[in-house]
């Protein structure tokens, strides 16, 4: 089924849920209500089975073995690159597999940033970045003498685009922003930011960890030079993820890690680098996990990204409506139309950790804390928040269970 055909109908969530074995388990005697997909999503049978099938029938090291198993493993691992490339409208060899978004962003910071940035150069980020799109840049800036600047977050939980236009200037060499905030849920206007970056001759990197699981991503339309993502947030296994890089840039870049499989020739004097993407995949990769990621994007394409996004919009609208009925609950972030399937909130006077413990007792898994975004917490004026995040397998009824659990918390914690 094509994406377009899938988008024309609503998701059959009950059928989708049957694809996810974990959703049938109970927690403290209550049905699991999994509202933490922004941290890590659950895996469908198609992914579990793809990994199992590979492990059971075809495992061997890739690229060097001249025998059936190695050839099957190589073909399956390369096929996964093709599947992911098609999913984001990139060529297969512009897709570098990494362990996760963090490693992908480190690859950009180290392999592009360290040899490129000079004293006085500027890297522009936003105040709503995850630590993984802040700390690597801070370290590279420290090593190179470059400066890191942050586009402000406005009161509505969006980016201050006037401030972005002021910050992005002739000294800017890199603009690296999150596509969707893991705390506020905000979906950022990345195309506009990319245009601002390119107008100044800067490169544009998108942290897609929170967008690629939920939105149709076309890296050509986004106009990004890099796009980093995690497999385990998009139904794939942990240890899978990737970096898209525009071919001309990847070809000019030096490798990130050095060793096996990333060379074409080694002598005692030096080495020449392998072709893309292997130049950036040193050592034996996470083969089974990469194959699992390929199965995950195929599953997502089958369901349809437009249908998934529309479903999550309905869930967010329901969640915001229910939470707003409670005057002692503060909600962070923009209106439903500008956000993905993430809702951060606090119950007045209650610490997020205590909230999460009480929700857990009701079978509800939510995240509590700073969500690896301590600078943003500072701006919001909180130590942490509770975060419920939704995916294709969640239902409005599950949000109602969360709302009941918030009522329990109010009683137990005497807030």
């Amino acid at each position: 089924m094509t994406d377009r055909a899938a988008a024309s109908r609503e998701l059959d969530v009950q059928r989708i849920r049957q694809d996810f074995p974990i959703l049938s388990r109970t927690i403290h005697g209550r049905p699991l209500v999994y509202l933490d997909s922004a941290a890590s999503s659950q895996r469908p049978l198609a992914v579990i089975e793809a990994v199992r099938h590979y492990d059971a029938t075809s495992h061997a090291n890739i690229h060097r073995g001249v025998y059936v198993l190695s050839e099957e493993a190589t073909a399956a691992y390369e096929q996964a690159h093709t599947q992911v490339g098609q999913f984001i409208h990139a060529d297969w060899d512009e897709v570098i597999f990494t362990r996760n978004t963090t490693e992908a962003l480190n690859l950009v910071a180290y392999a592009w940033g360290r040899p490129t940035l000079r004293p006085g150069d500027e890297v522009v980020l936003t105040q709503m970045e995850h630590h993984s799109n802040i700390v690597p840049w801070q370290q590279v800036a420290r090593a190179t003498g470059a400066t890191v600047r942050y586009i402000r977050v406005n009161a509505q939980g969006g980016l201050d685009l006037d401030h972005a236009a002021q910050l992005i200037g002739p000294r800017t060499r890199m603009v690296s922003v999150t596509h969707a905030s893991n705390v506020l849920g905000t979906i950022n206007p990345v195309q506009t930011l990319g245009e601002l970056a390119h107008a100044q001759g800067a490169l544009f990197c998108v942290d897609g960890a929170q967008s690629i699981p939920h939105l149709a991503v076309n890296v050509r339309e986004l106009g990004c030079d890099f796009f980093a993502f995690s497999g385990h947030k998009m139904l794939g296994p942990t240890g899978s993820g990737g970096l898209y890089g525009r071919r001309e840039i990847l070809e000019r870049m030096e490798p990130f890690l050095y060793g096996g499989d990333m060379i074409s020739e080694v002598t005692f004097e030096g080495a020449r680098w392998n072709d893309l993407p292997w130049k950036f995949e040193a050592g034996t990769p996470a083969i089974a996990q990469g194959i699992g990621l390929g199965a995950a994007v195929t599953y997502l394409q089958h369901v349809g990204m437009e249908a998934i996004h529309a479903h999550e919009q309905r869930l967010v609208q329901h969640a915001l409506a229910r939470l707003r009925q409670m005057p002692d609950v503060a909600i962070y972030g923009p209106e439903a139309a500008q956000r993905g399937g993430v809702v951060s909130f606090n119950l007045q006077g209650a610490h997020p950790h205590d909230m999460a413990s009480i929700c857990d007792q009701a079978g509800v898994a939510i995240r509590a804390g700073h969500h690896c975004a301590m600078p943003l917490m500072h701006i919001l004026g909180v130590n942490g928040t509770c975060r419920a995040s939704f995916y294709l397998y969640n239902t409005p009824d599950e949000i109602d269970v969360l709302v009941e659990a918030i009522g329990d918390a109010r009683r137990i914690l005497r807030r």
């Binding site: 610490h351 950790h353 205590d354 009480i358 804390g369 700073h370 137990i412 914690l413 005497r414």
Partner: protein, 129 residues
Amino acid sequence: MSIHDMYQEHILEHYEAPYHRRTLPNPTLECRDLNPLCGDEVCIQACLDEQSYLVEVGFEGKGCIISLAAASMLMEAVEGKTLADVKHMDREDMLGLLGVPLTTMRVKCAMLALRTLQKAIHRYEEGQA
């Protein structure tokens, strides 16, 4: 385990009316530390007498009910004790003070205050050496 076991009356009482939640003007030892998992923070101070008794103690912090109740109970337990007594306190002692069942992740909340106090003692003794 019921959730009411974790949030028993004595825990909520310590959270709502903490013992020695205060800043000491001239502490002999102090340390501020964070639980990196959640960003909760606690600062613990103490004044020693000549025999290394903790004659005054105090804490400040931002955190969940478990971490702040634990800090309050710890203040009550260590006031008047010697440095050696406090150095020998371990996880079991702290969980014993709390007296409620905790899940693995929440044990980290419970341990923040004791770990921070022990870090303060360690630094103080290194400074003396």
